[in-house]
Amino acid sequence: MKKSKSLLLLLTLVLAVGTLLAACGSNDKKNSASNGGNNATSNSGEKAANSGDEKLAADQTLRINLSAEPPTFDPAQAQDSQANTVLKTMYEGLTRMDDSGEPQPAAAEKWEIDGTKYTFHLRQDAKWSNGDPVTAKDFVFAWERVLSPNTQPAAPYAYQLYYLKNAQEYNEGKVTDFSQVGVKAIDDYTLEVEIVAPTPYFLGLTSFYTYYPVHSSVKDDDKWAVDASKMIVNGAFTLTNWIKGQTIEVTKNENYWDKDSIKLNKISMSLVNSSATELASYQNGELDRVGHPNGEIPTDQIPILKDQLKDELGIKGIASTYYYEFNVTAEPFDNVNIRRAFAMAIDRQAIVDNVTLGGQLPAFGYVPPGIKGVNDEYRNEHKDDYFTENLEEAKKLLEQGMQEKGYTKLPEITLIYNSSDAHKKVALAVADMWKKNLGINVKTENQEWGVFIENRQNLNYQVARAGWTADYNDPMTFLDMWVTGGGNNDTGFTNAEYDKLIAEAKSTDKAETRDANFSKAEEILIKDNQVLMPIYYYTNVSAEKPYLKGVVLDFSGGVDYSRAYLTEK
């Protein structure tokens, strides 16, 4: 028995030491505690004041929250909006989007466009965070890295570069020589890009993270983007701390060419995925900005906040559409009149006013406001009057559709959505309206994300929730997905005329032709076929402290914190 007692002692000891070690290993976390607390803003501003009567706060530490941890900081691998937010602070592409969605000079000082040929002149004073100059070769290197079939792992967003000549062929291994691809470094500061077809929005695309340059030192180091100490960047901030699941911290990059317009010293990001907690800690003064696009303000609280935080709550429309799609290959939605009846029989205004509450706009078209048309926004040039809400008409159409299909009573319909409180509420509201207005039994079924996507992509559904956000500022980003066999066409819709219109628009740079084709295509999609049932155009709902200035939200809801600053309270 004696022997065994000592064994127990040993075990206890091992456990205790383990605990102790674990506790020691994280001492460094305690040092940063003061940054997160309330004291960050309590210093009186002794430092020089900024222009006007705005006085800069002494502590320029911005505190925000990301509701999900970005899986990677490698621009070639990034795929999500959280990474987009962080990468925007750390990198700079050839261009940068301003808040109206216009590309502005960034790493490129100026450029010439000649049909499908773009010549970018890079600024000579741009430096990497280690002091190396940013050259045209860095861009070529980065883009080759994205496109190369040997990149491990393959860059999922490589197709964002398929606009370049031979890029797709190179990526798919049909062309093996990268010099065939339409990007060349003429000299250190001149980058020549050739694209496949005239693309009016290409300039804007170069501000997207897949187009960011990366430093050539990453070549043989696949762990570079995991390690804060190894990341060499060309943007306004550098990654200085990353504790998995806890915080991400970026600090001002002293080697950034435009460092004088950067006033923030540090951006400290917590990683909390509870919207209620996020808001509570904002109200408690632990965060400076909450809500979209990096988090969410609980819908239940929006009406209250509209009242209590009138000056802090901001609602801004973004180029994104919330809709339900019909599986046009499945009963009973293989009948257009039944689809129309469903689309007409709901009250969108009631949904945005009472359910989503975020000032969303009822949608009757697919392309959202904020997307550029010829002279004005596309949506202003083509009103979304492809159908109206009309109960009588809906009932008639349903009757007609049922006759065509030989139904005496419509069987129960299943509406699927991916698990989320917001989607659940909309689904329940819509289902209830269908039930009341059309007398149809509707089952709502929430599905776990992966299961949901799989079911939708395999056309294993009747009606499904969906949403689409612009990748670039052009109607194409919404309309080219519905072509026959399109990777994101999860409805089974196929229409030869539609395909032709899109193909034609892709091959011309005549604005009028493109515009006419887009509006015709949208008409086919919504008015003639009602493949989908638009519900509303998204808005960005966020709250930001009055002393926080200069946060830029772009047309699609991306946020740029790099030029933000804090004034004295």
Binding site: T19, G37, Y157, K244, T247, A280, Q283, N284, G450, E454
Partner: protein, 310 residues
């Protein structure tokens, strides 16, 4: 004793093997894969990703390869968090869960046993009733309600404690309180119930009759026998607290392993799911193992030798 431990250890390995196999095939049976996304990746790129991660091979082949890697102690790299080592992710996220968990367990055991003992010693008196009402409240109110209430009162209203995060001692208070409400209640009830039993047992009467001092009886007999069920509960509780505090982690914004696991499952990050599962498994088995051994020391009536007579 050595044989007993070796035997247990061997069984642990076998269980681990079964656990790995079962999880692997279960995981593969769930629809979706790490590269399923709303904006679909072109098929050519998707296929290359499958190939690079070996997902194009038959499941059985993937399984054999995985086993081979595991035997060499290689947990692989995450398929979602590009180029990040699974072992590192587990290490980093577990450190938060562990710290929170250890504090919570210690608090739960001390407070729970103390409450339960008081209640038993003052059976059917005021202290008993108060302690049991407290204990029952701990069980009766869902932990996420407790957490929200605590957060509102102590962070939002009184500003005594931070709302979220995990940066220093103050950050522990609320999560630990929310996390321990239920175990405290459970332990208090278990302790009370088994102490009452012990207090009525003949050997206590004998001890009293022998003229042993009350303190001696309490410490030599009552407590030792009374906390038996608590020891049993300790194993599962440790594992539950250390691994299963997802809700609390979420509400208080603590990036623990629970949150990571939920995340891994939802994005089908196969290597990470496997890694955390194995980690959980080992942790749990160790907890059981230690419990079993501790059992022997607390209760001399249990013998280790095998055979019909136990």
């Amino acid at each position: 004793m050595v044989r007993y431990v070796a035997n247990k250890f061997f069984f642990m390995l076998v269980s681990l093997f079964i656990l790995i196999s079962a999880t692997f095939f279960l995981m593969k049976a769930i629809p979706g894969d790490p590269f399923t996304s709303e904006k679909k990746v072109p098929p050519a790129i998707q296929e290359r990703l499958y190939e690079q991660y070996g997902l194009d091979k038959p499941v059985i082949q993937q399984y054999v390869k995985y086993l081979g890697d595991i035997v060499q102690g290689d947990f692989g790299i995450s398929m979602k968090m590009i180029n990040q080592d699974v072992s590192k992710i587990i290490g980093q996220t577990f450190s938060a869960s562990l710290k929170l968990g250890v504090v919570a367990i210690v608090v739960a055991v001390i407070v729970g046993v103390a409450l339960g003992m008081l209640a038993a010693l003052y059976h059917r008196r005021l202290i008993d009733n108060v302690a049991m009402v407290l204990a029952v409240l701990g069980i009766a109110v869902p932990s996420f309600v407790v957490a929200s209430l605590l957060q509102y009162v102590f962070a939002s209203k009184l500003h005594w404690l931070p709302t979220m995060g995990f940066k220093g001692p103050l950050y522990y208070v609320l999560p630990v309180a929310a996390l321990t409400a239920q175990p405290i209640a459970f332990i208090a009830r278990l302790t009370r119930s088994s102490m009452l039993e012990v207090l009525h047992a003949d050997y206590i009467k004998t001890a009293k009759a022998k003229g042993l001092s009350w303190m001696a009886i309490l410490f030599r007999h009552v407590i030792r026998n009374g906390i038996m069920p608590v020891v049993t509960y300790l194993g599962p509780m440790t594992a539950n607290i250390v691994t299963g505090s997802v809700v609390i982690e979420q509400i208080f914004g603590i990036g623990g392993i629970g949150k990571q696991f939920v995340q891994a499952i939802s994005v089908r990050d196969y290597p990470l799911i496997m890694g955390i599962t194995i980690f959980y498994g080992i942790l749990l088995m160790l907890a059981r193992f230690v419990t079993d051994i501790a059992y022997v020391f607390v209760d001399p009536r249990i013998k280790l030798t095998k055979g019909k007579e136990g």
